[in-house]
Amino acid sequence: MSIMRINVGPIHPSTHGVLRLVVDVDGDTVKDVEPHIGFLHRGVEKLMENRMYMQSPSYTEKLDYVASFCWDDLYVSTVELAVGNEVKEAAQVARVVMLEFQRIASHLIWLGTQCNELGQMFTMFMWCMRERQEILKFMEDVSGTRMFYVNLRLGGFNKQLPSDFVDRAYKLTDYLESNFLKYPEVTESNPIFMERMKGAGILDRETAIEYGVSGPVLRGSGVEYDIRKKMPYYIYDKIKFDIPTGSKGDNFDRYRVRYREMLESIRIIRQALEMMPKNPDVMGLPIKLIGPSAKPDIVVNHRELPKGEGIIYMVPDKQKPYRISLRSPTFINLSVLPKIAQGAKFADLVVISGSLDLVMGEIDR
């Protein structure tokens, strides 16, 4: 048969944003995929180089708009490193709690849309949105907004925590856990789910390292690499948790890694809440900031974001960063798609690209 070229996107519901894929198919089999990106390019790095330090969190939040707190934390902690500002103990605990809730919310969005793309169930999507809604309500009570928080300040937060922070967080973890344990009934015992996830989009260990992927995609291929363990920050070195890994690196392993990570996050939150001091003081510095006085030449900061490893490489200057370079995990995770989609059925292409958990705001920057 002859090769046919099909254009998918850039405006297409299953590409989760403005991703354009040019696909060569032979019959129903994918021969080659070429991702075209840049439709959402805003020049965030250039914008941040022209803003004062604490004006930039509103840009970093819109990179990964389903896990904005995580990027916010990555950026603010980079500035903290440059300035040499210590984070208060209670603020460290509160940040870890918020980070892990945000990680769960991000994985829930992924799980819901992934099941949607498999075309068999709206149940899972509604369940995931229901649980995510509870997390967003909690985050709203802490920060004042649902999705874009901008509540981090140097050394802490912009205001004190609500008085029932610990109680509500405990209750929320109980609620989430009891619901998460029901998920496998709808996913893993469903033959459609299993047949389309198992054995599709295989990414082996060597290829994963070669292509530089990170996060659940890398761990799904069996590499035990998590910044929270390997380069611990905040209180992660005092917390006991496991790094879930897969063995084959197919769609199902990536699902399994994310699902188990959600349960691990609950474990982390509970341990962190036990470390919360009585009458916590999390107040950070006011937003007015002149900039680092004894500035280091470069600052490199790592964080485990829900989608992979985020790095900021910053050359600080007095009032604004001289250069700020963002490593967004999904940018490089997407570059592996042509490799793993080869030989798959055309209908599975969407499932495979979905399993990489792509967010275009972060890829295009």
Partner: protein, 115 residues
């Protein structure tokens, strides 16, 4: 440079996390962030390039993850990458000859479509 990165890869630094560049007043610097997964050690290599017609060898033969980073670097800084075909990645319709992340790029300049 290529030799040094090859040596590092042989030592176990086989996980390339990031390639980026910085436009200093007197030079360009290209930065490679490598990681050794066994030893859990990170290594940051920086290469200095002249401001006039900067060009650097491609490392795509050693690290496949370099592909998209080198394409991005070429578009944003105009650093030529030799030894490979560089297709535009993010700014497909951008006018060539204008590199947004260089410091001499005028802030707030109007977007020009390539002819």
């Amino acid at each position: 440079m290529l030799k040094k990165l090859g040596e590092l890869k042989a030592k176990g630094y086989s996980y390339l996390k990031k390639i980026t560049a910085v436009d200093y007043p007197d030079r360009f610097e290209v930065i490679y962030i490598l990681h050794n997964l066994q030893a859990n050690d990170e290594s940051i290599i920086s290469v200095k390039l002249p401001h006039d017609k900067p060009s650097i060898e491609s490392v795509i033969g050693i690290f496949k993850s370099a592909d998209w980073y080198e394409r991005e670097m070429y578009e944003m800084f105009g650093i030529e990458v030799t030894g490979r075909v560089v297709k535009r990645l993010l700014l497909e319709e951008w006018n060539s000859g204008e590199y947004p992340l260089r410091k001499d790029f005028e802030w707030g300049k109007e977007y020009k479509k390539a002819a």
